[in-house]
């Protein structure tokens, strides 16, 4: 199904979507764009390149309560916070971010134990993807193309959107998307020309060039394994690294978390909170032993995990080239440059 709407009527669309479930869409904030739950249809703003924090936070919020309890009271009184299954529409997700959900699914719901919170939200969500502007060059931080993701890939989305001038073309990709699209009134039908434009955009997106040349995941995996003991390489790579958590928090495929108890006045919450392998205390054991006390060890873990360990364990690189880590790194460390350096080393 192919539909379209004028951009200036976007709020009609978003307002209709709000009637179908919780709408999460990009919103302009002080520091830039972010995905937020929409309370006013006019908040949605598609004039963004990409958001500061990836939309993973929609399915995997930075703070997630598991249990609420009272200290000093019988255990049975504790209340489990059950996973949410309410319908959710995630609107305006860039193709690389769409891809990230697939990678996260492997970890959270398709292998080993199932994370019920992720799974419940994912299943209840309809994904509306949104093509990058293929007429403009990619931003210097981005390299999704390197990882085989096009700037306008509709795969993974339930509905995919492409902007054509003052219009927004919407195409359903899955049955779920089709059902949703069919249920929205007031959308105009798209012309064959629009359909061609859509297909052309997708194709242009595939040829879209980002910084790096394509590389073979297997070769990277092997190379990083071989390079593990090359301390000089990692020290050099991490000379500038501050060991903060920006890159991991902004990343769409970083999933590390901490489980902690927060209590006040006898009321407590067991919750998970995003954590970062870049933090010094991430691997600090109760015995005091910490296998990764040095910055280079932590950076090595991060890069190794994304491009090597993850590939061996799950078969895919845990990176979609969205460029957020590079964009937000306070010292301008570029993750894929390190990978390239590694390949040369």
């Amino acid at each position: 199904m192919l539909k379209k709407t004028a951009i200036h009527q976007l709020s009609d669309l978003t307002s209709a979507l709000m009637g179908k479930g919780t709408l999460v869409a990009p919103v302009r904030e002080d520091a830039g764009f972010n995905f937020r739950e929409i309370s006013d249809a006019k908040q949605v703003d598609l004039n963004f390149h990409n958001t500061i924090i990836s939309p993973k936070s929609v399915f995997f919020p930075q703070t997630e309560d598991f249990i609420r309890y009272r200290t000093g009271r019988p255990l049975q009184e504790a209340e489990t916070v059950e996973p949410e299954g309410k319908p959710l529409i995630l609107f305006g997700v860039r193709p690389c971010d769409v891809k990230s959900f697939e990678i996260m699914d492997i970890h959270f719901s398709c292998t080993g134990a199932v994370d019920p919170y992720w799974q419940a939200r994912r299943e209840a969500a309809t994904l509306i993807g949104y093509a990058f502007d293929v007429a403009a060059p990619a931003e210097p931080e981005e390299f999704y193309q390197t990882l085989g993701i096009g700037a306008a890939d509709p795969e993974g989305s339930d509905i995919f959107m492409v902007r054509r001038g003052d219009d927004l073309i919407l195409k359903s990709i899955t049955g779920k998307g089709e059902a949703l699209l069919a249920g929205i009134e007031g959308l105009a039908g798209a012309s064959a020309d629009d359909g061609k434009f859509f297909d052309d955009t997708v194709a242009a997106g595939r040829n879209f060039k980002t910084r790096f040349t394509c590389v073979d995941a297997k070769a990277i995996t092997k190379k990083l394994e071989d390079l593990f003991h090359n301390t000089d390489f990692w020290e050099k790579a991490s000379n500038a690294c501050l060991s903060c958590g920006v890159c991991t928090f902004a990343c769409p495929t970083c999933y590390c978390f901490d489980i902690c108890d927060e209590t006040l006045f006898g009321r407590g919450t067991r919750r998970r909170v995003w954590d970062a392998c870049m933090f010094t205390d991430f691997t600090l054991e109760a015995s005091g032993h910490n296998p990764r006390t040095k910055v280079y060890q932590r950076l090595r873990q991060k890069i190794g995990h994304k491009y090597s360990y993850h590939v061996r364990k799950y078969g895919v690189i845990s990176c979609v080239g969205c460029g957020r880590c590079t964009r937000h790194c306070p010292v301008g460390i570029d993750i894929f440059s390190i990978v390239e350096e590694a390949m040369k080393a």
């Binding site: 249990i67 080993g112 590390c256 901490d258 109760a286």
Partner: protein, 286 residues
């Protein structure tokens, strides 16, 4: 209410506390499940662990010290962590009494590979309080239904002082049995100590178990493991036949939180039991 949510602990009650060592910082806790279906669900084998969960304090991953052949309870031997700033969970647990209730999440991780061990001679080597899951394994193997599945069993167990040996009564019982060879050693004895003195690696060298059709299962403080592994290697044990259990900081215990990631393994869900051959596959990042 029964939840399949892997992050939600099952309520258990402390039915017995045993002060294991003379420094009183290692205690064994026996728990019974408050819900029968939880007990039914908690099917484990030696080598697995569980998260002990105390609301307001947090969770702590601890190896299961009891054996599935001991019905009615599940036991853990817990050291009060941190000499200066105590670990919150272990300290709180140590302050509890029989009748106290906590949460339990598990069983987690892979057990000692029982099928792999079957029909083989087993050398169990342990040091200090890291003997817990080995105790579970030995108890499991010694059970009348299981004993015949395994070949010779040799236990080499050491601690710094006689007072620091865990499970003293059981050790004494094992020493009396003929179907298990038990060698107990301490780094430094005292007036009443009649047994062996010497470090575990040296004792292993001394005892020199035959590598023929044998598997060594080793658990202990890092320094003991470091010096014991080469001994077994020299004795002719292959890397596949040397097993150990890895320590790493863990939170979720189910391979999700990313904390115990070493190479392409998560220690919690892919381990904690690894053979030396598997360990050598991993980057030295633990």
């Amino acid at each position: 209410m029964r939840s399949t949510n892997p992050y939600i602990p099952m309520p258990v009650e402390i039915v017995k506390i045993t002060d294991e060592v003379d420094t009183h910082d290692i205690k064994s806790f026996r728990f019974k499940f408050l819900n029968a279906q939880d007990e039914a669900r908690f099917q484990y084998l030696p080598g697995q662990f569980a998260e002990l969960s105390i609301y307001g304090k947090g969770e702590s991953p601890i190896g299961i010290a009891s054996s599935p052949t001991e019905p009615g309870y599940v036991a853990f031997t817990v050291q009060r962590a941190g000499a200066i700033v105590p670990g919150l969970v272990t300290a709180a647990l140590h302050d509890m009494e029989e009748g106290g209730r906590i949460g339990l999440r598990g069983p987690l991780g892979h057990p000692w590979p029982i099928e792999f061990l079957e029909k083989k001679n087993i050398v169990v080597v342990g040091g200090g309080f890291a003997f817990t899951t080995l105790r579970s394994l030995v108890t499991y193997m010694l059970h009348e239904n299981n004993r015949s599945r395994f070949g010779d069993i040799t236990v080499i167990y050491g601690a710094r002082t006689p007072g620091l040996l865990c499970y003293k009564d059981e050790l004494a019982a094992w020493e009396k049995r003929s179907d298990i060879k038990t060698i107990i050693t301490v780094d430094k004895g005292n007036e009443t100590w009649k047994g062996r003195e010497g470090f575990v690696p040296a004792v292993c060298k001394d005892v020199a178990p035959s590598p023929a059709n044998a598997v060594a299962v080793i658990c202990g403080p890092p320094v003991m493991i470091k010096f014991t592994l080469p001994v077994f290697f020299e004795l002719g044990f292959s890397k596949e036949n040397i097993l150990t259990s890895l320590e790493m900081r863990m939170k979720c215990g189910i391979g999700k939180c990313g904390r115990c990631n070493v190479g392409y393994k998560y220690v919690c869900s892919d381990g904690p039991v690894f053979s030396l051959a598997e360990l050598e596959e991993l980057p030295r990042d633990f």
